[in-house]
Point group: C2
DNA sequence: CCTTGAGTTGAAGTGAACTTTAACTTGCAG
DNA sequence: CTGCAAGTTAAAGTTCACTTCAACTCAAGG
């Protein structure tokens, strides 16, 4: 069971050393120390880092990521099942985001025909201008009507 | 041709007044002034704002948005065609982002089966660990191999 | 030993996208 | 007219996600 140095981790994960230290300070990853106070990482920390970067791609904040990772066991190396549970959760987030983007794309496609993009008339943004009651902004995308 | 005040604009667009002033300072939108130095907006500025918010949803920076908007005519109200051209361009960006997200989702689905998320073995991140030559990080998602 | 590269810390800096503040001025209903 | 809500500015503050800096200490080859 060989431990990895911070430069190993940076090389393998593609994340800068400074970011790794930052993540540790934020409680996203952990490390042990050598007698000389240098960080040593267990191999499975790479999974945490991978997870962090993926979640960021999905548009999740570090704070949310932190709280998700907090669900992993602290006293033992996470099992496949632990990770699978977490992955499933993020997969739903991803799914939601994709759906939103697709809705955005579809509406935008319709808008290209009319060359509009008006806040008042275009369905992309606020159809019929009667949505004021539902709040401000591009209601159709952020908060579409149920069918 | 009635002009809108800043609070009209804020109400109609769902964007804070402070943000509208900020956008103006950044050259994203424009306004005329009353004799008493108050901002008055032409109605079509709402379209610019809508466009800005939509582009932000897609993950585009204000700087990029600014340069895209710079392609619109300054001396006349943009025509449908002007907007359509711009919309088409963003639609491609959206399409790309959706593709990336779908790839991410598909890979993640595969990963749930194995409960992995390893930087070394999981195909989500860096299959076979031989991608080092192609750069660091989650290569499969950011820069997938051609088929 | 000595040098050099790798690692450590706290604190300050960065950039994006705004918001808040303070001190005024305008617009308009009564 | 008056009073007050709405508007104006420059400058400073905020949050997020890091990076950079300065001043060290540690580890290992020659």
């Amino acid at each position: 069971m060989e431990l990895l140095t911070i430069s190993d981790m940076a090389a393998r994960s593609g994340v800068a050393q400074s970011a790794l230290r930052f993540y540790e300070k934020e409680g996203l990853i952990t490390s042990t120390r050598t007698s000389g106070n240098q960080r040593r990482y267990e191999r499975h920390e790479l999974r945490r880092i991978a997870f962090i970067r993926i979640a960021q791609q999905v548009g999740v904040s570090l704070e949310e990521i932190r709280s998700a990772l907090a669900a992993l066991p602290e006293n033992r190396t996470p099992t496949k099942t632990d990770w699978a549970r977490l992955s499933a959760r993020w997969q739903r987030k991803l799914e939601e985001r994709i759906t939103m983007m697709e809705r955005l794309r579809d509406q935008l496609t319709g808008c290209i025909g009319c060359g509009c993009l008006s806040l008042q008339r275009c369905s992309l943004i606020n159809p019929h201008d009667e949505l004021a009651s539902r709040g401000e902004g591009p209601q159709m995308i952020l908060n579409p009507p149920r069918e």
